[in-house]
Structures are given as structure tokens and as C-alpha cells.
């Protein structure tokens, strides 16, 4: 167990024993990530704030059920994802929010834009511009792909934890992650490609 995890468990133990400052420290440590996650999933400022509050409220209420066999953050993310998905379902009841769509067949796997990127494309943009490009690209994904991508590649949960958190199978996580990554790659290519390179059709 890493020093960070030991320290985190100590904060959880102190929170359980009634130390409000320990719980506040956990909040301060993770609020930015939980808020980002909530925004990515709900794509709505008001919903994201609700999710942020409700997630920490629930975490506090259920602190005793946290087993300590997973990381506290993974446990917290699970709570936040559930809250965020509930918001998303409430707001949009159309089929685009279904997280249980049929297994993809692979027929839709295409790479349309093939262009070499600049050596350091991130340097062409300010931090704010870059964050904006990256966030907009994520927003363009459909919810079932977006959620998997956010958990796997932004929050860096394992494939298994992602599957468990979303209540979907491991193959479904893998299939959606592949599609999400390829779609983002295409979007980012528009910004990051080396100037002068031709974009040509592929497959």
C-alpha cells in the first residue's frame, strides 16, 4: 500500500471517529476531480453541482460501509457516477442515454482522418484553450462511450472497476473504450495535425 493510501485510510478512520476536519480534508483532496467527473457525465453545471454535493453527503453517511479493500477514491467515484447517471437519466429520457445498448459488431470501426500530428501540438494552445478543446471533444461522444472513457482514461479506473461501476460487462467496457478513443483521436487530429500533411481516406 502506498504512503498516499495509508494516509488516506487514516483520514477515513478519523472521519469515522467524528473528526470533521479529516473529512473536510478528503473533500478538499477530491472535490475538483469529482466535479470534473460530474460535469463530464451530466454536461450541465447545475446537475454537476448537485452531484458534487450529493456524492460527498452520501460518502459521509455511508462511511462505515467503506471496507478499505479498495481505494477510497474508487469508492467515491462509484457513488458519484451513480448520482451523475441518475441526473442524466432524469434530464434526458430519450434512448441516447441508454447505457445498455447492444454489443457493437465492429462494423462501425473506421478511421477517417489519418494525419501525422505536430511534435508538440499541445504547445500551440494555452492551457485554457487546450482544456476547452479536450472537453468539447469529450462532450461530442455519446453518453455510453463518454462515461467509459472518462472512467478509464481520465479517472484511470481499471477495466474491471469501470465495468463494476457502470454495471456493464468487461467486453462492453473494452469495446466502448476503443470507439471513444478513436473518435477522440479523429476530433483532436483536426487541431493537432502537422500543417501541410494531407488527410486521406482510409479503409
Amino acid at each position: 500500500m502506498s504512503a498516499e493510501q495509508t494516509d488516506e485510510l487514516a483520514l477515513v478512520d478519523r472521519s469515522r471517529a467524528g473528526d470533521a476536519s479529516a473529512f473536510s480534508e478528503l473533500v478538499e483532496r477530491y472535490e475538483r476531480k469529482i466535479y470534473r467527473l460530474a460535469k463530464h457525465i451530466t454536461q450541465n453545471d447545475e446537475d454537476a453541482e448537485d452531484v458534487l454535493q450529493e456524492s460527498f453527503m452520501k460518502a459521509y453517511t455511508h462511511l462505515d460501509s467503506f471496507q478499505g479493500d479498495s481505494k477510497f477514491y474508487t469508492w467515491l467515484v462509484r457513488i458519484a457516477v451513480n448520482e451523475a447517471l441518475m441526473k442524466l437519466r432524469k434530464r434526458k429520457t430519450d434512448r441516447t442515454v441508454s447505457l445498455d445498448e447492444p454489443q457493437d459488431t465492429g462494423e462501425d470501426l473506421v478511421a477517417r482522418e489519418i494525419a501525422v500530428w505536430d511534435d508538440d501540438p499541445e504547445k500551440k494552445y494555452s492551457r485554457e484553450e487546450l482544456a476547452d478543446i479536450l472537453n468539447k471533444a469529450v462532450e461530442s461522444l455519446k453518453p455510453s462511450f463518454r462515461t467509459v472513457f472518462v472512467l478509464r482514461d481520465i479517472e484511470e479506473l481499471s477495466t474491471e472497476d469501470t465495468a463494476e461501476t457502470l454495471g456493464i460487462s468487461v467486453p462492453a467496457v473494452k469495446s466502448r473504450l476503443l470507439r471513444a478513443r478513436l473518435q477522440l483521436r479523429e476530433r483532436l487530429t483536426r487541431y493537432f495535425r502537422r500543417k501541410g500533411d494531407d488527410v486521406f481516406a482510409y479503409m
Binding site: 478511421a111 482514461d153 477522440l184
Partner: protein, 86 residues
């Protein structure tokens, strides 16, 4: 013989290094010989990297303070304070 389509299908797992070594070696071979797949591999890898390196932005101060107020209220109303050990 692997096709580009096969390569694309395995790309994610190739990047996550969760593949059987024999399949991995075949994919390596393909990507060395196929410039298009090489570009896709490189740019997908960099796509993942750029997201992983993205630090979460600071949350707006009013959102932070509303969160803390709500939590403080909650903690005061339902203290954990050693109710089990008293």
C-alpha cells in the same frame, strides 16, 4: 496475415498492454509495415496521454463554499462522534 481492420479492433488492448504476447508481436509487425496504422497508433496513444495529463480545474469558489456549508450542516446534524464507543 493481419489486416488494418484487425489492427484497429485490437488497438485499445494493444495500447493497454493487455494482449497475449503472440498477438502483440503480430500487431507490432503490422504497424511497422503499415504507415496508416502507425499514424493511428501514434495519434491514439497521444490522445490518451493528453487526457491523462490534464489536471482538473479549480472549482468555482461559490460552488466550493456551498459544498462545505452543506457538509458542515450535515456533519453537525449527524455527527459520527464516537457514538459507538460512548
Amino acid at each position: 496475415m493481419l489486416t488494418c481492420k484487425d489492427f484497429l479492433n485490437e488497438l485499445s488492448e494493444f495500447l493497454d498492454e493487455s494482449l497475449d504476447p503472440a498477438i502483440r508481436a503480430e500487431l507490432h509487425k503490422h504497424v511497422e509495415e503499415c504507415p496508416n496504422c502507425w499514424v493511428i497508433l501514434d495519434t491514439t496513444q497521444r490522445t490518451i496521454k493528453v487526457y491523462k495529463g490534464l489536471e482538473p480545474q479549480t472549482i468555482p469558489p461559490d460552488i466550493h463554499s456551498r459544498l462545505m456549508t452543506a457538509l458542515q450542516k450535515k456533519m453537525a446534524a449527524a455527527p459520527k462522534s464516537s457514538s459507538s464507543s460512548q
